[in-house]
Symmetry: C7
């Protein structure tokens, strides 16, 4: 399924942080949604800001519309709802 | 009956998902409205975005005005209420 | 009485559906107002959309101001409150 | 007392309908304010719409500011609060 | 004390009506503030409407900010809060 | 500490009136904040109105943001929140 | 981690004041967040006002969105939420 986003909309998927113990063991069954960080999965044609597919971005918890398509849940925001892009390469 | 939509309005009809068992058997009497996906049935003359008759689109549950015409129920939204077009061919 | 509508206002009268049995018999005393469909009875001089006297139109139930003039009740809306014109000839 | 209305304001006085029996007898002491019809008593210099002194107009009950000057009560509206002019000559 | 009003502000003082009996006797101790009529005591430099010092004006009761300076109480409104100027000479 | 105000902001400090008896004796311990009069202590670079450092101004009680910096409390308003400058020299 | 701020956003970190006794002894365990003063840690590309990385700024307590990234908590505001820059060098 391909999403054609309209206007300045951006579709994102919240990042899920696996909880680890300090020694690095993943505690299964304890995934925790970190709703303020997300990955960009679709970008509208009128998005003029510096936002690309695959970007890890920061959003307010309260922005956007949750949409379930098939088994996946997306959040549709406008570009102004995205506060920042996290640039992990450059940091 | 032909609808001439005014301004940037779009008339949509919610998609109804038949519930199937995993083996593909349709469970009649268990139709479920999937109110976030819809098909475009009429488009106003001032709609400038990429929305055509027959498009399968994604909308917020809370957008638009429900109107019953004859036996059919439509939702009238503006083009800005449509979040995305689902492109099933290209996907 | 002649109404000169100001600005982009449109005066409409709700359509009243007579209830019929399936065989076509009109059940008097059971008229039911269908408040979402209406007929245009006056059009302001600044109305730029495709709305003419006598048009059958679709409106939200919640739009406009109800005004009683003599024995008749009108609803005064602006052109943006009208969602669509129902074109019965062309359909 | 002369009122110089500012901006696009219009001062109106609600019409009072005398209640009559069907045979035309006026029932004194039963005057009833018909707050949706009014007569224009002053017009601001920036009023651009078709509104003149003495016009009988239609207004929403909820528009404007009631002001008592001497013994008289006026309603001050802006030109956009006036829905229509009732043209009794032409009708 | 001299007030330099900023923007399109106007400072007014509510008129106080002395209550008189019909024969014209002033009943002292029964002054009544008529908060809808006021006198203009200062006018901002960006006031473009027909409002001058000393004008008797009509305002809504709910407009503006009450400010006490020394012993005097003023109401600071913007020019749009003033509904009309009462022209007693010409009337 | 030097404040560089951004945009059209103005920092003010409320005037404190010492209460005096009629004979002019200051009653210590009875200072009273007169929150509607204030002195301008900093002016943003985009302030275009007639407001200078040291001006005594009139403000609504409800305007602005109270900020404590060190031991001092300031109110940050925008230039539009200032109703008037009190010109004591000219008065 | 590098933050690329979008639009006119500014990321700030609230200043934490260590409480000291008058003789200058730091009372550990008594850090107090002074939420009205903050340091600028990232600036969006459309920020046009006089705000630079490292600036100590004054903000309302109620502005912006709190975001936790890793162990650090940031507040994302727009440039208009910043009331003033505190210039400690020049003062």
């Amino acid at each position: 399924m391909n999403l054609i986003l309209l206007g300045d909309r951006v579709a994102i998927k919240p990042l899920v942080n696996e909880e680890k113990t300090k020694s690095g063991i993943v505690l299964s069954g304890q995934k925790k949604e970190n709703s303020q960080q997300a990955v960009v999965v679709a970008v509208g044609q009128e998005v003029t800001m510096q936002i690309k597919l695959g970007d890890k971005v920061v959003c307010s918890n309260y922005a956007g519309t949750k949409i379930k398509l098939g088994e996946e849940e997306y959040i549709f925001v406008t570009q102004n709802d995205i506060l920042a892009v996290i640039d992990e390469v450059r940091s």
